[in-house]
Amino acid sequence: MATIKPYAGNSLVRLIEMVNHDNPDKVIVLGVDFSIGPPLVFSGTNDRNSKALLSPLPGTRWKAPQDVFYKRLSIDVLSRLPDGFIEDVPAQPLPFSIHGILPKINAALGIDLTKEEVVDATFTALQETYPLVINETGSYAWRDSAYRFKMAELVDEIDLAIAIAQPVLNGLEYVQP
């Protein structure tokens, strides 16, 4: 499991934290103060490539909707992390799907992608690397992009029925002190 995780965190939570970080005098809470629209591609201003519309909820002190503009990253940034930040995904028996092993991928890569952010795919044969493809319309933090992760080699499992050759155990016995 990756222990240093510069890109950890739910994508939407990270975006809201960024909004509040950059506007510390007006801290807002998703679901209480406002709702948020889907992440959209944006081009035009200061290297921002994305926007999302914050709409105030009825009964709050806010009035008009407001776009926030920010920069989503390519998931390929993971390949630029120093050695040790990324680990191999634990070996999985074939076939496996990206969505099916997403928690293990997240743990190995130090990220917290949801199924909505990732294009699912099923693999029926071993490969040197496997593509993790972002679904841009479902991700508040990542652009359309891909990262190829490695998987540890599958070691033959030992049959417990064979490993425990002596199933009749010597105990338990409570010995009086």
């Binding site: 634990p90 070996a91 070691v155 499992e157 030992i158 049959d159 417990l160 029925a161 490993a163 425990i164 050759a165 002596q166 199933p167 009749v168 155990l169 010597n170 105990g171 338990l172 016995e173 409570y174 010995v175 009086q176 002190p177």
Partner: protein, 176 residues
């Protein structure tokens, strides 16, 4: 092999498996146990299925036979009396029971129940049953233990400290 009963229940059984199968180094993280059932063969009172955890390096399962410990044999010559204090249920004094007998009984190992209530008489000792949970991996049976009342507070018991006496009554001489 002397068993350390202060360990967790799965660790105790895994130790037993490893001891009987030299070269095997199972840990509780690698396997799960089913619910134990009573067994009438092989001079072992318990049967349980141990199953490999996916990704542990092991696969499939195996039925084990072993003896669970009857709670009745545990106290031996040691005191079975426990101060009740403010305890209402067995769970409230289970730490004291564990410490006295070198155990690690958890809520999965015993059937919790209300402790009996004292009547208020001095030096009261009341029996209660500590019964093994049927799903306990380590214990079966039951044992009778006692709760003992705290010494009564004399300041409370003697509610009327101003006594009616003493009066010395002159003996009356008998008439001649």
């Amino acid at each position: 092999m002397a068993t350390d009963f202060t360990k967790g229940d799965t660790q105790i059984i895994v130790d037993l498996i490893n001891e009987r199968n030299p070269g095997l180094s199972l840990t509780p993280a690698l396997v799960t146990f089913g619910l134990p059932t009573l067994n009438a063969t092989d001079a072992r009172n318990t049967k349980v299925t141990v199953t490999a955890v996916p990704g542990s390096g092991y696969k499939n399962f195996k039925d084990l036979l072993y003896n669970r410990v009857d709670l009745a044999v545990i106290p031996g010559a040691r005191s079975i009396e426990f101060p009740k204090g403010d305890a209402l249920k067995i769970a409230d004094i289970i730490d004291e029971i564990n410490a006295r007998f070198g155990l690690n009984l958890t809520s999965n190992d015993f059937v919790d129940a209300d402790l009996p209530n004292f009547t208020g008489a001095p030096n009261e000792k009341l029996d209660f049953q500590l019964s093994a949970n049927a799903d306990s991996l380590v214990y079966i049976g039951s044992v009778t233990l006692k709760i003992i009342a705290e010494d009564l507070d004399l300041a409370v018991v003697i509610a009327n400290p101003i006594l009616d006496g003493l009066v010395y009554v002159q003996p009356v001489e008998p008439a001649p």
